[in-house]
Symmetry: D2
Subunit: 421 residues, 4 copies
């Protein structure tokens, strides 16, 4: 396998090719194949980008048709047929049924770009600069978004101090029995706390990169109310947890709240195409023309597949129920694996929501051995958390039960091997 060429020409910054040092060639649904034909089941799925699987055949036809017909591929933020269809479909199938009266902004086609836009608009609307973020939060690595991302790997690498955000403890961060929002609320109402009165909070309902930490509905609802009572905007970062991953289209639906802004990306196009979106409460849209821009905003191919994905999966609640059902399968199997590990003296537990599931083994090296063993068995799966201590299941939501169980079997075999020492 010619990986030397890659090592010769590609920057040392590369990561996933270190965990999975092979050359991939084809993919379909929950499966990947390498150039030499080896097959893998994919529990990584583009870190949550491929909720509908690789090269979803329902979307592929529309994509090919659009390209063949010479539809507009790139038109900056021109109005196009494809954009119209996407907007209408989003409004009809997602926003209206959920009572969300949002306007849509298409920033550059990456999640971090949507976060930068959200932060900037929050500051513009409120005249305040501070964004309240949470421990273990991940919101992107361009400089504005990075100020809200907790990970030292990126922050230390910025070369200047991150500016414009302050961190507060996420749900559960201070252990059982401490509601971290007591601290948040006190600090907000205390003019000498050092907490600059924020323009907004930005929060993930389930922290994907942070280790599948899951905020309770009660905590989220209280945070939301704290914001409402104090004229602080609530930004839900649904980039990884959105598009059905938790069993609802938006992850915050479980808590019964309506954020002021929502960032979305990753699985939004449904086909792995770069795409990102900022939804904002109608009255917050005080942008002047062109105050935020980017060459690839409004990627039309992504809008074609995004609209089709909505039509295919979000006309009824069947898809949601399927995700919840499969999530239960993963939950049970992860609980068993945790039990296996605990019996061997480790400190493991499962957590998550829907098909966003983590097996926390409390030890990054142990987690690495488990995912490495899984890869040898044919499963692509990664870790997350501040020390990489959480084995993370982000399989396609469209995965078949058979594929899911096969993948889980591979993982369990690896767990058992590790336990056996």
């Amino acid at each position: 396998m010619d990986t030397q060429f890659f090592e010769h020409i590609e920057s040392e910054v590369r990561t996933y090719s270190r965990s999975f040092p092979t050359i991939f060639d084809q993919a379909r649904g929950a499966k990947l194949w390498t150039t030499n034909g080896t097959e893998y089941i994919d529990f990584l799925a583009g870190a949550g980008t491929l909720n509908y699987g690789h090269n979803n055949p329902n979307l592929k036809g529309k994509l090919l048709e659009y390209i063949e017909h010479d539809g507009i591929v790139h038109g900056l933020d021109f109005w196009t047929d494809a954009k119209q269809d996407f907007y209408r479909t989003l409004e009809r199938l997602i926003l209206e049924p959920r009572g969300l009266d949002y306007k849509i902004q298409l920033p550059g086609p990456t999640g971090t770009n949507a976060v930068e836009a959200a932060i900037r608009l929050a500051r513009k609307v409120t005249g305040r600069h501070n964004i309240l973020s949470f421990t273990n939060g991940f919101h992107g690595v361009t400089m504005g978004a990075l100020a809200t991302t907790g990970n030292a790997k990126f922050r230390n690498n910025l070369g200047v101090p991150a500016v414009g955000a302050q961190f507060m403890p996420y749900d559960g961060y201070m252990g059982e029995g401490v509601d971290t929002l007591d601290y948040v609320e006190k600090a907000l109402d205390d003019g000498s706390s050092g907490l600059d009165y924020p323009a907004a909070v930005i929060v993930e309902v389930v922290q994907g990169e942070g280790g599948i930490n899951t905020a309770s509905n009660a905590w989220l609802k209280r945070l939301y109310d704290i914001c409402k009572q104090r004229d602080i905007l609530f930004i839900a970062d649904d980039i990884q947890a959105g598009c059905g991953r938790t069993g609802k289209f938006f992850s915050f639906e479980h808590a019964g709240i309506k954020p002021d802004m929502v960032t979305n990306s990753k699985s939004l196009s449904g086909y792995g195409l770069p795409f990102a979106m900022l939804l904002m409460r109608r009255d917050l849209d005080i942008w002047q023309p062109g105050q935020y821009n980017g060459t690839f905003r409004g990627h039309n191919l992504a809008m074609v597949t995004a609209a089709e994905a909505l039509r295919q999966y979000w006309r009824t609640d069947e898809f949601e129920r399927e995700v919840q059902r499969k999530g239960e399968i993963v939950r049970e199997r992860f609980a068993q694996m945790a039990e296996t590990l605990n019996q061997a003296g480790h400190n493991a537990s499962e957590r998550g929501r829907g098909l966003m599931r983590g097996l926390d083994v409390d030890d990054g090296a142990l987690a690495d051995r488990i995912t490495h063993g899984a890869f040898e068995r044919g499963l692509v799966i990664e870790t997350s958390g501040q020390a990489g201590e959480v084995v993370k299941c982000l399989c396609p939501l469209t995965i078949t039960d058979e594929e899911l169980n096969t993948g889980l079997d591979m993982l369990e075999a690896s767990v058992r091997e590790v336990v056996a020492g």
Copy 2:
């Protein structure tokens, strides 16, 4: 035409749909068609993203084939066949012939992302924080890149002061007879100038958004030498001026320099697909794994078309010569239009390089009237410059002479109409 729906649902931040308030549907080469069949010639070309034209048929086949075959579309930064082909082709047809021993980093698929990565690496390599940027420079709007972008529209909108860059006057900024590098050099060598000793300079050879300001080869070479002598990294931002736009693949080739880093995006995929690349001198690649990341880094569809574009247009120097030839046509016609305007008492002039050309009419409102009149005649063309005073030609490099002349005729007709009052 149903543009009301767009106004209802789309953020006020939209821009190009204000200049061109119609719904586009199809495009091929240098032509665009609206849903009701109106045809336009495109001198905007995705603000420099469509150097090879819309839906270039030479690339389209490869793209369709790859999608049909279920090639990897999204794989984070996995190694793939498509990536291998792109890297090899880039090395063979572009880097090696130009004696450039670069390593490649694929950040998120937007230019601003490449700039953020370049800045961060420059700081990491040098241990200094300051990036020297130039008046009227545009390098993106995410916060890190924005510190190097001069435009107040974005800077004032950031909500916090931009951090980490300082500005110096670009070539010609202080008028005839003043070499702005005298000031740069003095300030660099003066420990009390207030100029924090920089990690790097970032510069565009031709400033696209800034008004088609064109640095002379002598100025660029001197800036390059100033940097070399002082251990300051030289970053060429070739996002808009690269991929042949100025008559060479890289815009800096004219000046005979080899930048330490090069950012590329826009026309890199050749098909309008989101894609960006950072090239860096081999020894600068001190990234640790994963220190810079992003979900859509390494967009495989873009790599498929990018590799094919290189094969189609960069095996010989014929394409370069064609660009230069057509650039002359534009130059001559713009000079005539400037003359027409000047005879009517305006203060107009032409400038630029290759097919990156500007007609500076010294008045934003006048430029708007000209481009508006051109649009009514069937030409999509935009302005740039700090007050929008420069009519900008960024037509596809593959435009036919007939299309080019038709477009220029439309523009000239609009100029004449404006002159006639």
Copy 3:
């Protein structure tokens, strides 16, 4: 009384003249007299600057003698006789007996200047930028120090976001039963907490401006150990709590710790003269010559009185014991006043250490009424805390028992009046 002239010519930024709208003329010990001869007892004492009372006669003679003899008053940071005497006396009477092997830096003669120097040195030594500060901390208002000061009144007024510090909850901030250092320790050891690994912590043992919040010895010791174990510098800001105010020369002596750096000012000169000092662990002194400067560093008149104050009060532990004894008197009387208030339905309590005492009445308006009533009775006393809810006793440490009791009687009378409604 001609206060109109002051209102005409003096900026609206003035504060204490609003609480005490009269013109003062003379002062001695714990007493102040206005131009028209009204006498006041002073429980404010220059906000902790006059620990040895106004115009202390023991120091006054030395000061007059030095001035008469034309001793050097201003000599930048020249070596002078006065400086030599101060350094020697400080070393012999304060540092050596406490086992503190510090070097001395005299920055500009204000506390905030000492804090700026400490922060800068901590960054220089560690190569990290972040300073960990605590809720309700006050460390000065010049921009560098202000980043560590929690008070929104100053922070909101900075015009740019404060850069370079992050806040953590002070002892007791999260209520009974929560050791706030659990959170600090977890966040420090969690690479995704958003807490940039700090160069130093800066902490007040008793928070003067913050509301006489008093860290327990156990909390302080644990914080100190957390720092030691993690190579984080420990800066004790002893500007208000130092020079005997808490019953020891340094407030941190109670906890048995030896900070890496100590900032001192306010009562350091002993005579109310501008003066500040940074003490630093010998090995931390990596300053290059002149890297921190200021015209008034090394104020010789202040060194004359500072040395004499050390000789007068710090040869034995008698002075410390007296402060502790008087502190008990205040504690008891404040406890009684709290009881009086609580019986009337308020929520009051006392706290503090030595002669740094607070009566927290949980209501800024109530506290104002109490101090206003006290002023009418002849007592100068102020409030502190984020809402001004804490009546603060900072009487001279040299106050006589009679003066102390008279002052407390006045305060109690005001409390009773307020309670009576």
Copy 4:
């Protein structure tokens, strides 16, 4: 001489004791004596702090009297008799005759504190954050002021990037024939220049630390007009050049302008006592009570001597004329020394205004040899400029002709010795 003790206990940050490694004891007028009786003439004068000489006998009496009488020494910002007298005297003798309707703010008693206050108020008034500063400007080293100070020695030492200011070239910075304000004006009016529209400019009429660079009246007037036309506040930093140093009380009087704010310190007390003042146009005083504070604001001893200094020297214009006359003496002698140096192949010139004079020898090592030789002959004199290349005369304005000539003779002897090699 016991300097070892100082080296043992005093931070390495010390500077002047390195140039003048002796222990000083007494001083009077323009003379200093060491502990062993060696006499020096003082051309440094506290870096411009002792315009009226050391221990000026006209002021000394008032100071002693005030202390003996137990006048208020420290009273935070209480109104006092001493303050009233200072304000009235300043208004009557300085402000009114010059038509300046200013309000007075007394920040902490250091120049940098006055600059921090001015910057903060400018931001508050305008709602903008940027402060325009000039190459080689020096405005203090606390973080807020440091953003406007050009010197890398301090800036590199800050540990974070300075925030909130941008630099422009000072008068003459780009050589003969280039009016640097052309650049400033263009950048201000160009929305893409990268110059954030400023709240204020801050400028020294003569740059003391920067190398006695002297702005022409025409340049200053034009800068002033540029600001007036664009609603940008003009802050004159008169900390070193004020109090008569240039031959007028305020250095900007020569140019016939009325700054919006003026910072003053150094010689303001007239006796070397820490003191600083911010003057502001009456309508700019939008401070809320207490938004800027500091323990030593309103140092009463300094106000006693400051008022007396005004009475002694500023009732008539005689003092101004004397300064101008003596300034001519220095100018002529410096011109001769420059000639001597130039004949020996060096590149020397003189510059300055009033008794703020520089001998630029274009070589820091050469300047050091000259001042070192002067010190051996009995003259205390220092260098300034970015490389320490300018021998700087800041002798007391009250120096006698005999002392002045003796000092100049010593300097000339040193110059001749250096020339002789």
